[in-house]
Symmetry: C2
Subunit: 369 residues, 2 copies
């Protein structure tokens, strides 16, 4: 099965960094929030080894921002999520499950509190803007909801601190995990957060204004030459090893946060105002009947997981696999799936139907990294 081509159109939006991404020889993309997201530069495996050893610059512009601004911004933010945000301070980022009135996940973004009355929601792959605008309109809230011209640029890998310090100054080294600071580049202030979609450490720069995108991109590559900096992207293997879920792959609006193993980000009792609170109170108390698990798939490298692979115990389907890849470092196929509670204990052995081929699958006690 060879990958098909992606046809060009304005609808699949380019980013402020697309010229840089192309110059670095991007080989494949996915489409994420109707925008180009690179998936492969040298190869998924070569990119993976490099990410764990050096530093990469990632065009993650597709993490679009939903900006809430106005007197009701904080109230609206709390309406969206079962995570209690009362203790959140300016300067903090929070991973927030977003749920509808039934408790179904609509997105799993990072909320950035810029001021009491100004927030960014850095979204996963769904038009959360439309939900938030609809809620704001329907509840007649006094708040502006827009997609600003802000494109995140990731700097990920063990040498990320060194590279960032060379461009933004040593102050970036002091940013704590899921905190941000304001740093200047060519006279422009930027939100720089210690966050990112890998577990190799690093930052996300919220680049405001597309015009400054390529100057920053070029400055990072210039400064990082001896660090072996390369263009990279969220890496399928590394993100599965690290247990970083992907909205649309590992969970959809059919799932509650508790099914996704995100119960620790839900304070359903105290998140007063959350639209999905009533629906989630019961599941928070009783627990879900199925949940995300790390899974080991025996045998050779599996193909790309472009559809759910059903999981069986005997004749009964007890779950499905939604992300999978061969891990060179762990010498196995690492995978993420949803498994029913009757079969979710670590060590349980199941069978997967991988495009007609039967594979032995073992439920793991946790993710790999």
């Amino acid at each position: 099965m060879t990958a098909p081509l992606l046809s060009p159109s304005r609808r699949v939006r380019r980013t402020p960094f697309s010229a840089g991404v192309e110059a670095q020889g991007v080989k494949a993309y996915t489409v994420y929030n109707r925008m180009l997201l690179p998936t492969v530069f040298e190869s998924v495996q070569a990119d993976y080894h490099h990410l764990k050893k050096h530093v990469q610059v990632w065009d993650v512009s597709c993490e679009r921002q939903v900006e809430l601004r106005g007197p009701d911004a904080a109230r609206l933010m709390q309406m969206l999520t079962p995570r209690d945000l009362r203790g959140m301070t300016v300067g903090q980022c929070c991973y927030v499950p977003i749920v509808d009135e039934t408790g179904g996940m609509l997105n799993d973004p990072v909320a950035v509190k810029l001021a009491e009355d100004r927030w960014w929601i850095s979204i996963a792959d769904s038009d959360l803007l439309l939900w938030v605008k609809g809620i704001a309109s329907g509840y007649r809230l006094d708040v502006l909801v827009v997609e600003p011209d802000v494109s995140p640029l990731g700097v990920q890998g063990p040498k990320a601190d060194e590279l960032m310090a060379r461009v933004f100054g040593d102050g970036v080294r002091n940013i704590r995990f899921f905190r941000y600071g304001i740093f200047s580049f060519e006279g422009r202030d930027m939100v720089v957060a210690r966050s990112g979609y890998s577990k190799q450490g690093g930052f996300e720069i919220y680049v405001e204004g597309g015009d400054i995108g390529m100057p920053l991109w070029n400055a990072l590559f210039e400064a990082g030459r001896d660090l072996e900096v390369r263009a990279g992207c969220p890496n399928l293997i590394e993100r599965i090893e690290s247990g970083l879920l992907s909205y649309g792959n590992d969970m959809t609006a059919d799932n509650t946060p508790h099914e996704c193993g995100l119960g620790r980000f839900c304070n359903t009792n105290t998140a007063i105002g959350c639209i999905g609170r009533d629906a989630l109170l019961r599941v928070a108390k009783e627990g879900p009947v199925q949940q995300i698990r790390a899974l080991d798939i025996a045998g050779d490298a599996v193909p790309g997981c472009d559809r759910p692979w059903p999981l069986y115990a005997g004749e009964a389907q007890v779950g499905q696999i939604t992300s999978a890849a061969w891990s060179p470092d762990f010498g196995t196929n690492v995978a993420i799936g949803m498994v029913r509670m009757t079969h979710w204990d670590a060590g349980t052995v199941l069978r997967a139907d991988v495009l007609g081929e039967e594979r032995v699958v073992t439920v793991r006690p946790g993710f790999w990294a």
Copy 2:
């Protein structure tokens, strides 16, 4: 510039017809509503000639449905659009611009009235479901809003009537334009509408239940062998010639329906309840300051339009081109763009910057077909 590859993932959803599409040798896709939409089979030009002469079966599952069901369904439907829907009857389909509270276009779908209290909205490329759910929740409407398991299959081209009659019976010949009937296939009722994203004539079958997808696909190919039926897809050249706009390409939430030349679908005075009505009343009266135009681009075949190409008169930017392709039948580059009123009269000559190359552009009196 060669097209890059599209990486597989569950997030970019397959359709009930994907196996058939692959068997017919699909060469390229785009991603539309987070779902695979084929763009090329033999070649864009070969597909174009075939579409105008024979009949094609199109996997347009990505036209997902937003289903409204319940006592407030009709009220909610009218809240979404400035088109007055009071005269719409069961059995009718209507092209309805959907606008937000500022009059900005959120989608340009076809609404299908199944019953007074049950509607499908067959959407273009944005998560309209989230907007509609947000509005329903915020206004506390008594209505269910869901994405049902319904995947449209297009049958397009001059021989479409003949092919459809062989599979569904001669009754389909009597379906009028933008009307539908209920027809049976293997004991399953299906909504069959005379509609589609080409001007070559044809139908859209709203296939309810993914399991019946491939049996229907196969029956159409079996019945159409001597009609030279092929797998096809919305064709870039044909849709530009025909003036069929593409949401995300030719218009976005920045544009009002009037800018998109869709004023004839707006009854802003009488569409009482429409959320964007206040904002649109003024533009409906005064008219827009820029509007969609058919444009002729001189010279050789242009490259794929993957970003807006600015249009100039002298030093001033007066518009942009958002869709373009070489038309074999008209021997020119056909294009769609947005042009300011000072320069939108037919015959006006402008300059386009096509990736650094200057091209002469002429505003046309209308589309080609």
